[in-house]
Point group: C2
């Protein structure tokens, strides 16, 4: 029994955002109901970047993702983030596939935010606002378009050329370059920037907005003014991870916010253990840090499609 | 730049025990002197087996090993333990190679025990005793033969056929089937069994013996009577890991032994921060749990040899 090898191009061709969203939503429900296993990520910090080992299991699937963040890579013609998944048989440990997970990582982040918006945004949400026109913006828009009738996508970035590039990449949607205030005045706002200090102002907030706070994914990172959290309904993917490295980490470290103020986790809402949005005027915030069960769910989807196809294989451990 | 793919057969052909021992010894020294990074292993327990994600970095190298233990595998014609390493460029995060690590895991365990014996056994050690004639026994003998003039190897196993098979595999050494007492009366004793209760008796101990206690690598596992530890010089690979899952874990949990009684770590001895054996009559014990820096050191060795060869590659993340 050989191990399947799936390159980035091959994985990309197998990814369909609708199917990815369904798989990730199922994974959050399974996890909340005790059918998933996810030990904490292992972090490894080196001089020029860091690495994370992210293992997790879901029914019928187990995998580890090995992902790096090297901010100086673009100057060398390499992506900042690259990822590989080893996908194994939970019953024997056999490595069924080794696959690129760079695209999986981008898809799962978009998919998870859209799932959060499904439960937390207003039902009549039609305007999406994006802060940060980098790689993550693309999959955020694709994912929200699967679940919402997007009449308008407002985009702000400190680099106007990045906004124009994104507009060019997504001609099928009504994207427009907007001011920060205009972008913030959307029904659903996604913050996908590398900011280390808050840029999203409390003064911009309108009642009924849902915010997907994506950018803060490590200690010391923060996109929203801490006051934005106050009085908002905050939902996390994983409370421990969010408290140490998500949007709430800096406010908690400064004593401005407490983990007890978090409403619940996305998994509990998906599983029906807690309701999502109940008030049209509430501000809701999803603090996304990225959890390995998302990656396992998508790698299972990719493997199940690929296993009967004609891809390269290697007798890796045999 | 493609990613190199190295199968088990290809890795095996590149492994040379002498070079492996030198690489692992260097790694322990580097780690003790602060030139290595190793977060704790991530454990994932499932119904039929468990998985460990083991990331670590050494100068110029970073990798994660994904390894399983599935005790029922032999009945399905599969190995109990299989392992894969993703070996990356520390400066960019690029996955330079994906390689089998099943043989690497066996080699590094043997190499580390032999390095411990180099510093802890008597200089005139010539007789090696092996408890447990399974897979690990083979690499224990190969490794000790690199550093000692082995005039005799005594082997005991509850399964006499396993002893005969091992003898057949190593015709170049003077192996013999022995009683437990004869095996224990060796200069260097390696315990490489899956025992969950102590079988090695205090009464068998002779002054000046060095014991490599290998088998206990998870909570609840134990090979030596707790009294064997008392009055002995105990050295660990990693104190935290040994305390929670090594030979000393059960005695510690029962209040029969304390982590403060451990003399030092192998890295500190290799780095010259603490002396090894100083008394010909002392009993020395190396408690081996297996640390990821060993795997990283060997994967670097394998990669450096393979990178200029003609092996398969894949444009995995490109």
């Amino acid at each position: 029994m050989p191990t399947l090898l799936l390159s980035r191009k091959e994985v990309s061709a197998l990814l369909n955002m609708g199917a990815v969203i369904r798989a990730v939503e199922q994974a959050f429900g399974d996890w909340a109901e005790g059918r998933g296993t996810m030990p904490p990520k292992s972090y490894l910090s080196l001089e020029k970047g860091d690495f994370r080992a992210m293992p997790a299991a879901l029914p019928g699937a187990v995998a580890v993702k090995w992902v790096n963040v090297h901010p100086q890579n673009p100057s060398r013609g390499l992506a900042t983030v690259m990822a590989v998944i080893i996908y194994s048989d939970p019953d024997t440990g056999y490595p069924l596939a080794v696959m690129d997970a760079t695209e999986i990582t981008a898809f799962r982040t978009g998919a998870t935010a859209a799932i959060a918006a499904k439960y937390l945004a207003r039902r009549d949400a039609h305007v999406l606002g994006i802060f940060g026109a980098g790689r993550q913006a693309y999959t955020q828009i694709l994912a929200h378009a699967e679940l919402f009738d997007l009449r308008e996508v407002r985009v702000y970035d400190v680099r106007p050329e990045a906004v124009q590039r994104l507009i060019g990449l997504l001609p099928q949607f009504r994207l427009g370059a907007c001011s920060p205030e205009e972008t913030a005045a959307s029904d659903i706002v996604c913050t996908v920037t590398p900011a280390r200090a808050p840029f999203f102002k409390k003064a911009w907030l309108r009642p009924g907005t849902h915010i997907n706070a994506i950018g803060a994914d490590a200690e010391g990172k923060e996109e929203l003014e801490p006051d934005v959290l106050k009085g908002s309904v905050v939902v996390v993917d994983d409370l421990r991870q969010a408290s140490s490295g998500g949007e709430i980490n800096v406010p908690i470290a400064r004593g401005l916010y407490s983990p007890q103020e978090v409403y619940t986790s996305l998994g509990e809402i998906v599983a029906g253990q807690k309701p999502g949005r109940t008030d049209d005027r509430a501000i809701t915030i999803f603090d996304s840090t990225g959890v390995a069960i998302e990656d396992v769910a998508i790698s299972r989807l990719v493997y199940e499609q690929a296993k009967s196809g004609s891809y390269r294989t290697i007798d890796l451990v045999g």
